[in-house]
Symmetry: C3
Subunit: 466 residues, 3 copies
């Protein structure tokens, strides 16, 4: 029997991680110019509007991303009938740690002010930190139910670092664009998570509780809908101000609508009575958002977005129906949430769509200055052409895949060490391992003796609770 007692392990890891964050924030993190108290004073002395603060450009989008990370992902994973606490609760825990660690890691790579050695943060930093947390949560979806919270915190520690390194290579070194993170968030999160899941393969995994019940499926739909509704914000949150943010919303909105129709169509088509499977509605409908993760801010056109969404919804749902069982049987990847179908394949699709859309960009469509602004053809990349950009987008995908699998392997073996308190094979997908679960009274709840005489319908079982 495994030792899953968290009484020292979990508190120590949490408190040490948090203390480290405090110390590192104290050494490195400061407000950027627009969140510093000098800002309004300077603006007003120059008679400039106080609205020209990135806060006003990006706060609505930031809030949506924040909801996706904490409610969207957290509730999406509550489909498991006995792991609702773990899904929402561990999601909450590792996201809260990841956003702090990301502010540092991404800060060192992107926001380091060399004049004083400090990381200057603002709202865009918070958005990027949430993005990084999202990637960790995607990986969490692959191992959901089979790991301890300590393993998750350790996975987060490494994955955030890997994320920051990959992001630096593909955005700064290769000069790729990926505003909605099809590569930096989804491909990385999925293939890292799948690799970790593979390393942690359990040949005798008891899957009896790896399923939903009626109400857990409804809780999960809360998650799905928040992810779906706010994905336009996610894909446009860090795009250039103005038309890029606006266009990112339009494109993603269209793509997601098409995913819904195709995911439901495919779900119905492959069930012998044509019944729709909730798992497909919970996941396949979101694929269009992932697949626009790179190209949303580009001039993809609304019909282009519909096409990408339709294909993604179809492929994603086919993945749930056919591919996941194969991955489990032949590659020994036990992917709890089917992250490969929602984030893996659609992430790759998104990277390809981005590469193609970039390569196909023309001055006619974007205008000369618009092309430069959209793809960052300035400074080091001033002589780039769209097809060169497309090539670099593709290279970025390859780098991400390599780093994901490589990093996932290393971290997987670290997590395999026997002292992190992971659950035994029979106790996976069970909240009672790490949580105080309320008593068995729920079934009895509805035969509680009422204050007044009970409704006229007869009690189903004769139990009464005094």
């Amino acid at each position: 029997m495994k030792n899953t007692l968290m009484r020292w392990k979990l508190p120590i890891v949490c408190l040490v991680w948090q203390l480290a964050m405090i110390i590192l924030f104290g050494v490195f993190i400061r407000y950027d110019e627009e969140s510093d108290a000098h800002w309004s004073v300077t603006r007003m002395s120059q008679n400039h509007s106080l609205l020209e603060n990135q806060f006003y450009f990006r706060y609505p989008s930031f809030q949506d991303v924040h909801v996706m990370v904490f409610v969207g992902f957290g509730f999406l994973m509550t489909f498991l009938k006995r792991y609702g606490f773990g899904s929402v609760g561990f999601n909450f825990l590792i996201a809260s740690f990841s956003i702090q660690w990301s502010l540092l890691m991404q800060g060192w790579f992107h926001s380091l002010d060399f004049s004083d050695g400090k990381i200057k943060i603002g709202l865009e930093s918070l958005i990027n930190a949430d993005f990084c947390a999202a990637s960790v949560l995607i990986a969490f979806g692959g191992v959901l139910g089979k790991v301890s919270p300590v393993q998750l915190l350790i996975m987060s520690l490494f994955q955030v670092t890997l994320y920051a390194v990959n992001e630096f290579i593909i955005l700064d070194v290769l000069g790729a664009k990926d505003a909605g993170g099809a590569m930096v968030i989804h491909v990385l999160g999925a293939y890292f998570g799948l690799t970790v899941a593979r390393v942690l393969y359990r040949p005798n995994l008891d899957q009896k509780k790896n399923e939903s019940v009626y109400h857990s499926d409804l809780f999960s739909m809360i998650g799905t809908l928040y992810l779906w509704m706010f994905w336009p914000s996610f894909n446009s949150a860090i795009s250039n101000n103005g038309d890029a943010q606006h266009r990112g919303v339009i494109n993603t909105y269209c793509s997601l609508a098409a995913s819904v129709l195709t995911a439901i169509a495919v779900s119905s088509l492959f069930e012998k009575k044509g019944k729709i499977n909730m798992v497909h509605v919970q996941n396949g409908t979101l694929a269009g958002g992932v697949a626009l993760g790179t190209a949303a801010e580009m001039m993809l056109t609304p019909y282009g977005s519909l096409i990408v969404g339709a294909i993604s919804g179809t492929v994603s749902t086919l993945g749930f129906i056919f591919l996941s069982p194969l991955l489990e049987k032949y590659l020994k990847i036990q992917d709890t949430c089917g992250i490969h179908n929602l984030h893996g394949i659609p992430g790759v699709i998104g990277a390809i769509v981005g590469a193609v859309t970039a390569a196909a960009a023309t001055e006619e469509v974007y205008s000369r200055e618009g092309l430069k602004a959209a793809f960052g053809f300035e400074g080091r990349f001033a002589d780039r052409t769209p097809s060169v950009q497309g090539g670099h987008q593709a290279a970025a995908l390859c780098v991400t895949l390599l780093l994901s699998v490589g990093g996932g392997t290393i971290v997987g073996f670290i997590l395999k060490l026997p002292f992190w308190g992971d659950p035994s094979d029979e106790n996976c997908f069970e909240d009672d391992v790490y949580w105080e679960v309320p008593g068995e009274e729920e079934a009895a709840l509805y035969s509680v003796h009422y204050v007044n005489s009970p409704p006229t319908k007869p009690a189903v079982n004769g139990d009464t609770q005094q």
Copy 2:
């Protein structure tokens, strides 16, 4: 026994509908000026702020409307104890189709650029598309539980067209104002839906599952609260920038607060022990939002808004208590969600309030230019006076009622055709017809053998699983 097998019908309809959308978007739909890549370049070259993009004026409101459509309506309808999947899932499906088809239909009427024959879309188009989807979902509420997803997609196809035609007549031809859609959304959706429900009347409808249980009522409150909280955005989302958006929020906020107090008061008053009925809290509290659908952006005054909200909450709740049973018994209208009480009557109230408030408008209150801006007294309508406007508002209500009932009759008979896979009378309000429903284990869930010794409370039933 009816044939409810969806295996070819549903996928084919979804895929054909989606393909049609792709083709039509390809032919017609393009980005408008503010979402096109040339925009920021032009703005910056003129040293103008990038904030002056309708994206920044309207995105927060748009996101709220989007949540109302997908979570608000979707979860409001989960009160049905065995139709949660259908409520949320079909809501998701038909809204996703409707927003696409609306972009085209409304685009042809409103956003056609005659210079190149393309429909130019931007954020305001997305808001209007969501508005149109809301109208479809209102009608869905009237037939909820009694139709197949194929019937719903067909109903959406026709209703979106009807919506666009009616909207064109009342806004463009008659020059009425209806920023929050008391007429174009609520009156149309309700009376169209009720007429369809009438045509599809089932004399032997088994209503045993047409009711809630404890947890489904709580899921439904999620829907209610999101509709309630975001209605200020809904009623102001397409109002003129500046004070009109601001005022629309204030008026709606006040009206809705008054609806809550009166709905609960009436609910308690008419129950013999004064107990509150959740159905009234789920619906009657929202009536004030509907009733401000036309006048929210007008100078209705905060106390005027409170009066309208108080009356609407009262009337709506009285409708649930007294009117719905009469409509069912004498007019054979089986209105599952009571859409007549929330959208029908309050929509008519809203239209009347709008007409009166318009007729009562003065230059003193609005300023001369303000009056023109508020009511569109320009171009073709330059010589209008407020009382003429009021008359046209009333005419708009009549047109909407006629089109709703007329269109509903036609569509009702189309839906009555016997090959759409609708459920039999005994299988209405049951998810198992169209959905793979998880097993019967939920009751047993709570007597699952725990990892550690169970809590000290005795098990209610002695069953253990495995």
Copy 3:
């Protein structure tokens, strides 16, 4: 047996309260300049942007606060297994009344236009009204399950008045700053609520239903997450435009992240098997938001915020574990939701942090003008220094504590009068007293005979419902 029949009491109170609101709004409340129809006209005639309307600066923050009040608090309290309707429903009722009464009370103190004797309201008024409602809901959390809706409406009537008086004294007279209400909202709400709870002490309170079940804990997490995610908006919603709003978000975001790690750490540390307690996750994780209620807009620094959040999460959770039982046993305070641990102590921490941060403010950090703008060193307070400000912040805390306990005592005795229809000791925490509760069928729900053959898993109990 107590008379809990609400049939006349509740409707009369609701209707009289609502009528009073209508009359008082009619006499006093008008639109402010930015929500009046003259505004855009004037702006456009001067060629000024329509974006410079407080609506655009504050609407996203307002919507988040609104969600916190109605969904956040409402669902947080649904942890009670048989009081979900009361939690969400009474929250809805008293918040809807409180926001109306607050607009008047706060209006008389703050927004009275002496030229015409009217209260001019705008979006910031709505935010402040929601803030006041939040304070009432905090007190509600202390008496949850033990009072009738009539008592709650009466409590709201008095508490809103007390809130407005206290707010006027500490903000206007003492010149303290408290943008996120650590004092005006949290300290007041908590200590007022606890005092009322003390006066209403029930020595024979039957606490059997004062607990959660699996699904009610998940509903409660919806509330927790919305409070957590949107607290940055709450703490910055009425801060100065520009960097202050931006900084308030960053500080609160950091503080809350740290609360999560420490709350979970402490929860695990003090359970003999290290299992996490959902109550701690539902509440302790939010303490960092409360504790930044005063200082969020100040130059607290991100690491300062992390420290405050870490301490608050720890203290709050320790409160749930050790302090609440002591308060109940020795001080006879039956605090249903543990408001002392989430709003009381963290509110006091927040006030102290605010006082210290204010006292430590320097011109170097804020700039001279920035210091004046941040702390309102102008007009009557033009000669203030930071340490004087810090002293006044501390004084403000003392005033708030005194008014809370004093006001709570008086109101407690008013509520103790025997004709408000409160529940008997055996019927506390039971929805059936004031709500029509759906039948006992839920347990039977899942053995309903399916349309098609049931899934292959065996039925757990043999019941079938035809």
